[in-house]
């Protein structure tokens, strides 16, 4: 038996060289900086190139520079800011109610089979039906004013929140529920400590859809008795065939949608710091 105890640190090679085992990374790898800008810039580039070369005719899609012009005109002459603000107010109000109701319903229906059998079916059926077709009902119940618009947007954004939270909840690993059962906590604590954090990834994905749904819902609701709003502006422009104004609206949609989506994803990365996934 030969024992070499308390091995002295070997001399030489005392450097900062970093030679690691290089293994082919199968995941997506490190995040690229400024990746946020690539997508929008690409869209802009293709659009500009298409317009400049005449491949995209202005009748089909207004050129970016003309949209800038129209934007400036809308801003200065037609209270574009006011339109954006009143649309955002509606969207945010509707979204808030929709998210609250969606999470609540998802909890009730996710945690009890009876709740599920009562709420899940109607929500699935509701989401199979075009919102536009439901508007007459909402008009009858809620009038044609702000109330109807907020309710409609709430019902639109409720759906993805409900479905995703419900799905996320039901996908929580059963072993955590087991743990919670042996810990001897009640329903409320179970929801707070296990269900909500466990369903959070699902909820956040739902938020990504809810946010865009709420914005898209504006186009529908602002056809009804709106005097301002992006959807209203686009409806009018659509009727008059003012392509450039429509495209101003689309750009605003694209910008807000992309920003909101990125914000939700960014939030997701922060609040899901406890996960180690392919994304890290």
């Amino acid at each position: 038996m030969t024992a070499t105890l308390h091995v002295a640190p070997q001399v030489g090679e005392k450097d900062d060289v970093d030679e690691r085992v290089v293994r082919r990374k199968l995941g997506p790898g490190r995040r690229i900086r400024f990746a946020f800008w690539v997508g929008p810039l690409l869209v802009l580039a293709v659009w500009s190139a298409g317009s400049a070369t005449g491949l995209i005719k202005p009748a089909i899609l207004t050129a970016p520079w003309d949209v800038v012009e129209a934007f400036r005109d809308q801003w200065a002459e037609h209270d574009l800011l006011g339109n954006i603000l009143s649309s955002l107010t509606r969207a945010v109000l509707g979204l808030t109610f929709g998210v609250l109701a969606g999470v609540l319903l998802a909890l009730v229906s996710g945690l009890s089979r009876i709740g599920e059998s009562v709420f899940d079916g109607p929500i699935q059926i509701k989401r199979s039906i075009p919102t536009l077709a439901l508007i007459p009902l909402f008009i009858a119940w809620f009038g044609i004013d702000q109330e109807m618009k907020v309710v409609t947007i709430a019902l639109i954004s409720l759906v993805p929140i409900y479905v995703h939270t419900h799905n996320g909840l039901r996908s929580i690993d059963g072993k955590y529920a087991e743990l919670a059962e042996t810990i001897g906590i009640g329903r409320t604590e179970f929801v707070r400590h296990v269900v909500l954090p466990g369903a959070l990834p699902g909820f956040l994905l739902g938020m990504r859809f809810a946010v865009t749904s709420a914005l898209l819902g504006l186009v529908v609701v602002e056809q009804y008795n709106a005097t301002s709003g992006i959807g209203h502006m686009m409806t009018l422009a659509g009727q008059y065939g003012q392509t450039d104004v429509i495209v101003v609206g689309l750009v605003i949609y694209g910008v807000f949608g992309y920003l909101a989506d990125t914000a939700v994803r960014f939030t997701g990365r922060r609040v899901l710091a406890w996960r180690r996934t392919l994304d890290d």
Partner: protein
Amino acid sequence: ACGNDDPAATLELSAALPEKVPSGTTIRLGDPAIQAVLGAAGLDKELSAAGVNVEWANISGGPQSIQAFRADKLDCSSVADIPSLFAAWTGTSTKIIFQSVGADPLKFPIYKLGVAPGVTVNSLADLRGKKIAYSAGQAQGALVLRVLQKAGLSQKDVQLVELTSTSDSYVTALGTKAVDVAPLGAQNIKIYEAKYPGAGSIGTGIRDDAATLYCLTTSVQDAAKAAALKVYVGVRTKALLWQNEHPDEYAKLYYVDSQGLKPADAKAVVEIYGDKAIPASWDNAIKRLQETADLLATEQKHDKLDVTTLVDRRFEPVETAAAGSHVVTGDAA
């Protein structure tokens, strides 16, 4: 144009319409009401005999036809008078190549004013102070402006409620008293009044019978297509007259088979719309179009428009010739 690469012979807009349709000429038409009756009227043979191929699209009405025009996927579409104005205002050049009118336009209006239950509107003057559904770009919107003009009211005397007319949104808005007055298609009045007890309606007393076929200017400038369109205008004239003479077949072929109405409803609709007529001259129609253009230009802040640039009167004699003795003159025209 991006659709057809072979350089078609161009035709000056002042040149005479060519007689001969080159073989293989295809025109793309959104004209479902005519399409439905051509076979029964035996007119499809007339088209093929002249060497005209038609590619039918189930498209009619303003926004859709303008979209299709812009994409160069359609040559002509049947519409009322408003779309050609908006096409011009938004930079799509079109020409009206066909005009028809109502045989008795005031008795058979296209639109009436629906009145919400519990609201009293007996004459246009009663509109003062009322909430009126208004959608700027649609024919209904233009109608409201014309009604106000006729009633001697301005936009400030009433409360215009921006509301797009989709599906039965106007009926619902009236029924739920979200608005007091809204223009409804004449065929919907009966349904509306049946649905909502106490609901009423009044006529506008305004002619809203303009009906046109409007085409992409580039299509009219295409010699081959112009020749084919010339043939089609003749055929279309006869088809309209055939519809007048065969209301039951027309109801069945178009409203039942193609539009999905019940036979009874289809008959009712045909009756409500009344007979169509071919005017002996387009002068009056153009004059009314100019008035509408002027009204919209002021009220909706559009550019002034000379509507004579929107019509191609070379087709006028083709139409009247095909109608022969059936042309109407005087009040109706």
